[in-house]
Amino acid sequence: MLRKRLITVLTFTDGVLFRTKLFHPDYRYTQSFIDSWSIDEVVALDVTRPGQGSKENFYSTVQQLARKCFVPLAAGGGVRTIDDFKKLLSIGADKVVINTEAVRNSKLITEAANLFGAQCVVVSIDAKKIGEGKYEVYTEFGTKPTGLEPSAWAKKAEEYGAGEIMITSIERDGFLEGYDNELNKLVSEAVSIPVLVCGGAGKWQDFVDGIKIGKASAVCTTNIYHFTDVSIKSAKAYMKNAGIDVRI
């Protein structure tokens, strides 16, 4: 039985780990806790705004992370070209996350999937609620409306060759009040590839809801108390208790 995954998402500005709120760096962390053994997967995202840092600092952070990471590591943020894929894979990423460029140039999805395999291409979608049950995809750190509807875009991304979809609710980011499971369910039911849900988890029950109501294959968390060893174990025990198959 394939287990549901609990994934830690780490967001970096100029190579330094920050928690984000509404997509802005909010709270700075030290990195000593990352080599936890209970987490199922790690996603490292560069959220450096233009002119606020160098790509090299992010790369060196990913490389350090990869060295002590014996679980899958996905990396992304500002990925524009096949060379960016190659760079991240060469420093230890197993998968690459693309967002803005996927919307701008969907050929990149196909090209990358052909070269590195679909399992290597995670298409990340940031969405904002624009009405009752209605959502819109935003790019460029959640600032630019695209006119795309998230589940339709996810379906397209799957057709272009994406191996996984990561869906993030922009307005839930950093609020710890739970995922937008209406959005998650909409996207999960539209595709037949795995869906990772992100944005808003603040308590263990949120993970359960993300899977049971949001139909997620994996639930993501960005907050520090979620990714110490003890808390990951406790979260998984809670999920198991709620009838979800997880890796203990």
Binding site: M1, L2, R3, K4, R5, W37, D40, A66, R67, C69, F70, V71, P72, L73, L89, S90, I91, G92, A93, D94, N114, L115, F116, G117, A118, Q119, C120, G163, E164, V191, S192, I193, P194, S217, A218, R247
Partner: protein, 204 residues
């Protein structure tokens, strides 16, 4: 010395990282001379089957490597695409000839349950079917990390070491003489994965 075969596909960094973490000397190489000198070989890889074969061919590795593995019996572990390349043929987007070291074919994952998504990504079981040095000290309920849309089907049941059930059984680990393969990624499966890799490096 462990040689990790570089044929331009896959994350070699995580494989060499795991091998070195286990205390072995390792080298990434595309040169047959290095492979001949190696104690053991690892054939990693993620990506498309046809690209894998094309790259091995362009590096002029197919014949000498086959001789080294099949005739000289150099121990080798194939991981993910690496294990699939060892099969006779693949039906991944067309029909392609493989290395032919293992009597088997590579087929698309077609779970018999509509709720099961493809690619098969995440932590899943390894149903141990046979005693093997690979499994020494590995509990029967240990989980491993899989990420794939295709799988190898071994024609010789004796070669099958372990299976995984994803809407139907598929071969998750195999062994034929000195040739080992795992569909999952031991280098990304934490403690049990590292132990399985260590078993191959020490006893394979």
């Amino acid at each position: 010395m462990i040689v990790i075969i570089d044929y331009g596909l896959g994350n070699l960094f995580s494989v060499i990282g795991a091998v070195e973490k286990l205390g072995f000397k390792a080298k990434i190489s595309s040169k047959i001379a290095d492979m001949e000198k190696a104690d053991k070989l690892i054939l990693p890889g993620v990506g498309a089957f046809s690209d894998g074969m094309k790259n091995l061919k362009n590096l002029s590795l197919i014949e000498p490597l086959t001789k080294l593995v099949v005739e000289k019996k150099k121990p080798i572990l194939g991981i993910c695409l690496g294990c699939q390349l060892m099969a006779k043929e693949s039906f991944e987007f067309g029909h392609h000839k493989g290395l032919g070291w293992i009597d088997g074919s590579v087929l698309k994952l077609e779970p018999n349950d509509k709720d099961l998504r493809v690619p098969h990504v995440g932590w899943d079981d390894l149903l141990q079917r046979k005693k093997s040095i690979l499994f020494e000290g590995i509990p029967s309920d240990a989980l491993f990390y899989y990420t794939h849309s295709f799988h190898i089907k071994c024609n010789n049941p004796d070669d099958i070491l372990g299976e995984c059930d994803y809407g139907g059984l598929f071969t998750a680990a195999f062994n034929h003489n000195n040739i080992y393969g795992t569909q999952f990624h031991p280098e990304k499966s934490q403690l049990h994965g590292l132990n399985l890799l260590k078993n191959f490096l020490e006893k394979g």
